[in-house]
């Protein structure tokens, strides 16, 4: 039983450590003393109680989900049911097209508010699909994905501004090409680097890009650009503008899913997997590593730009907040939660991480601020407990856990 005793000691030492380290933040309040100009520290439990009243239930739900998942893993079926079913669906494009038709027609039955949420889910699904090409397929960590998304949005907004009447559908290829070109240019110097350097460079690029659009007069600074009506997604035939956005989004997601799935299972996709698993070995086998990494980078950036153009089309508004670190992390969390490299996984991750906070915020507005805190916790917990994500493959699990 010495092992058990050690475990208890470690845990109690850890919890005591957490308590003492967080105590000054949680249990005290700092305020200026007008008489002397000094600051004073006083005991103030209200902050702590409010914080704990959200975080403790949140973590409890998380622990319950982990427990239930472990139980399901022990007792449930051996084969991953959801992932298998979803992959089968992806193998049959006609089934997906039928699904898209069904979803589009379902759009006529719901309110505009639900439709706009649906359009956002589609947007994040596109972003997650795009980021998955670099992170999931090729193993390149991109932390500044929002820059590509933002560049697509800005490209379509700038063109819409200078060419009145430029239609929304035409801005999609424009967004794709702009972002892909940008991705190519950023990737060119960076792809010789190891994964973690690449991550930071892309992050620095996103920061520099945001500073750029904030300081360029043509991009409207912090105010952003409002698109002229002609360049938004408009009412089309019997469909209202909201319904048209939803239908547009659904079809884009379906087309992208099919294309990305085909790409993954092509010769190119297999080369990407080889690079992800062992770059040196892949190069030895004659795979043109740099060229394929650049391709993955450009495709991924391009899909981000396409999503950006779609965003500009249905919201009619673009501003520098599209390229914040928060956006990049949100999409990253979607890919990691769902399962890097797994298409059904990242689609599920995107839907969950957009819908859960949005619905919760509508129900309990006080906890809106806690969203990022929980995202961060999810990233850490997933890496520690289930690095391959919700619907990830065992192959990815082995890669992520490494030999040690």
């Amino acid at each position: 039983m010495t092992g058990g005793g050690k475990l208890v000691r470690t845990w109690s030492a850890g919890l005591a450590g957490i308590f003492f380290l967080t105590a000054p933040f949680l249990w005290t309040r700092v305020h200026g003393d007008l008489a002397t100009g000094n600051v004073l520290l006083s005991f103030a439990p209200s902050n702590a109680l409010q914080f704990l009243s959200v975080v403790v239930p949140g973590f409890a739900i998380g622990a319950f989900v982990v427990f239930a998942a472990a139980l399901w893993g022990r007792l449930g079926p051996r084969r991953p049911l959801v992932a298998t079913a979803a992959n089968r669906l992806l193998e049959r494009p006609w089934a997906l097209v039928a699904l898209a038709v069904a979803l589009s027609s379902a759009g006529t039955l719901v309110s505009a508010k639900v439709l706009s949420m649906g359009a956002f889910v589609c947007l994040y699904m596109m972003l997650a699909l795009g980021l998955n090409v670099t992170i999931g397929f090729t193993g390149l960590l991109v932390l500044g994905y929002a820059a590509f998304y933002s560049s697509g949005a800005y490209a379509s907004a700038l063109v819409a501004q200078s060419h009145p009447g430029f239609p929304a559908w035409a801005s999609l290829p424009l967004g794709f090409c702009t972002a892909a070109a940008l991705g190519f240019l950023v990737g060119l110097p960076c792809l010789r680097l190891r994964g973690d350097y690449l991550a930071i460079v892309t992050l620095g690029f996103a920061e520099a890009f945001r500073e750029l659009v904030r300081n360029l007069p043509a991009a409207g600074g912090d105010m952003g650009i409002v698109l002229p009506d002609a360049s938004r997604i408009r009412a089309f035939g019997p469909l209202s503008a909201a319904q048209a956005s939803w239908v547009f989004g659904v079809w884009l997601v379906v087309l992208l899913s099919i294309s990305v799935h085909r790409l993954y299972h092509s010769r190119t996709g297999r080369a990407w997997i080889a690079i992800r698993e062992d770059e040196t070995a892949a190069a030895m086998m004659g795979i043109p590593v740099v060229r394929l990494k650049l391709l993955a980078f450009s495709v991924s950036a391009g899909v981000g730009g396409l999503a950006g153009a779609y965003f500009a089309g249905f919201t009619g508004f673009v501003d520098p907040s599209t390229s914040t670190f928060e956006q990049s992390v949100l999409v990253l969390a979607m890919v990691i939660l769902g399962g890097m490299g797994s298409l059904p996984g990242v689609l599920l991750g995107a839907a969950l991480l957009y819908l859960l906070p949005t619905l919760l915020r509508d129900q309990i507005p006080q906890i809106a601020d806690y969203r990022l805190f929980f995202f961060g916790s999810i990233l850490v917990a997933m890496m520690l407990l289930r690095p391959q994500g919700l619907l990830g493959s065992p192959r990815h699990k082995m890669e992520l856990e490494g030999p040690g």
């Binding site: 000054p24 700092v30 002397t36």
Partner: protein, 301 residues
């Protein structure tokens, strides 16, 4: 012109202190401790908590106030650094490098939002009674003007770096640290307590960041929960510029980035100051990925 150089060097000394933490962790674990900027931010808050505690106890003004605050901030940050490593990184040693990096990003978000939620969304003021005398005292030697605060920054940076070099180069613990950085398995076979030494690395790096945090809090007069993000990125750029994993390199890189930033904002446009470090980072990684002083490292297979 000289004034710009002094300002730039003071800023650079701060970057160098933070960059040391990145470089030490990279040297020993081969990972980028993305949450290091947050540790710096926690140090900023730590100094204010300490000053507040001293103020409530009626102990302000004995001349020891600032040193006590710096030491308290360093202790708090060191604790957070150790906790961070234990919670988020230890289990992921030896895993694919995406795993610890993602975990570090998660930890950085958690820490930043923890401070936002538990302290304030806005800012806390650094007590002016402590910072103003230092910031407003100016010494002039010929054409050179230096404030007492800048002098404090230089002196503290020099002292801490000197201490660190002594620790790493001259003591038994330093030898053990270098051994772990060189070959972790071999070091543990030789009886070194690898886990403890890695915790020590995190503690040292975090304490240096907290000292920098206190200085920045005095320099700027306010403290915010999101102050660590940009500072962390720039210090990381400094570490890469000098050659990540290389301790003198981090110092050199920090000073250079500080100088270039101030020169840019003076000669070109002050709006571009914030982007300078990233442009340098991208250029360095492109032209000389191993940095100014770093050795060329082969890809890990």
């Amino acid at each position: 012109m000289l004034e710009i150089l002094v300002n730039g060097l003071a800023r650079g000394a701060i970057y160098a202190l933070i960059a040391l933490g990145y470089t030490m962790v990279y040297g020993i674990l081969g990972m980028i401790n993305f949450a290091h900027g947050e540790i710096f931010m926690i140090g900023m808050f730590g100094s204010i908590f300490a000053l507040g505690a001293l103020g409530s106890a009626g102990l302000v003004g004995a001349g020891l106030t600032l040193p006590v605050a710096i030491v308290a901030a360093m202790a708090l940050s060191a604790g957070f650094g150790i906790l961070n490593e234990r919670l988020a990184y230890r289990k992921l040693r030896g895993a694919h490098l995406l795993a610890p990096l993602t975990s570090a990003i998660g930890m950085s978000i958690v820490l930043q939002n923890f401070v936002m939620l538990s302290v304030t969304k806005g800012k806390l003021d650094f007590p002016r009674d402590i910072s103003a005398p230092l910031a407003e005292t100016r010494w002039s030697v010929g054409p050179l003007h230096v404030t007492a605060l800048q002098t404090t920054i230089f002196a503290l940076t020099l002292a801490l770096m000197g201490g660190l070099f002594w620790l790493i180069q001259k003591t038994r613990v330093g030898i053990a640290l270098r051994a772990v950085a060189q070959d972790r398995t071999m070091a543990s076979l030789c009886g070194m307590r690898v886990d403890g030494l890695i915790s020590l690395t995190f503690a040292l790096g975090s304490a240096l960041a907290a000292a920098a945090g206190t200085m920045v809090a005095m320099y700027q007069g306010v403290v915010r929960f999101d102050a660590g993000y940009e500072m962390g990125l720039k210090a990381f750029a400094a570490a890469v510029l000098g050659g990540i994993g290389n301790i003198p390199g981090a110092v050199l890189g920090g000073l250079l980035i500080g100088l270039v930033e101030d020169i840019t904002s003076y000669t070109i446009r002050s709006e571009w100051r914030e982007s300078t470090a990233f442009v340098i980072l991208i250029l360095v990684l492109w032209l000389r990925p191993h940095g100014l002083l770093g050795e060329r490292v082969a890809d890990k297979v």
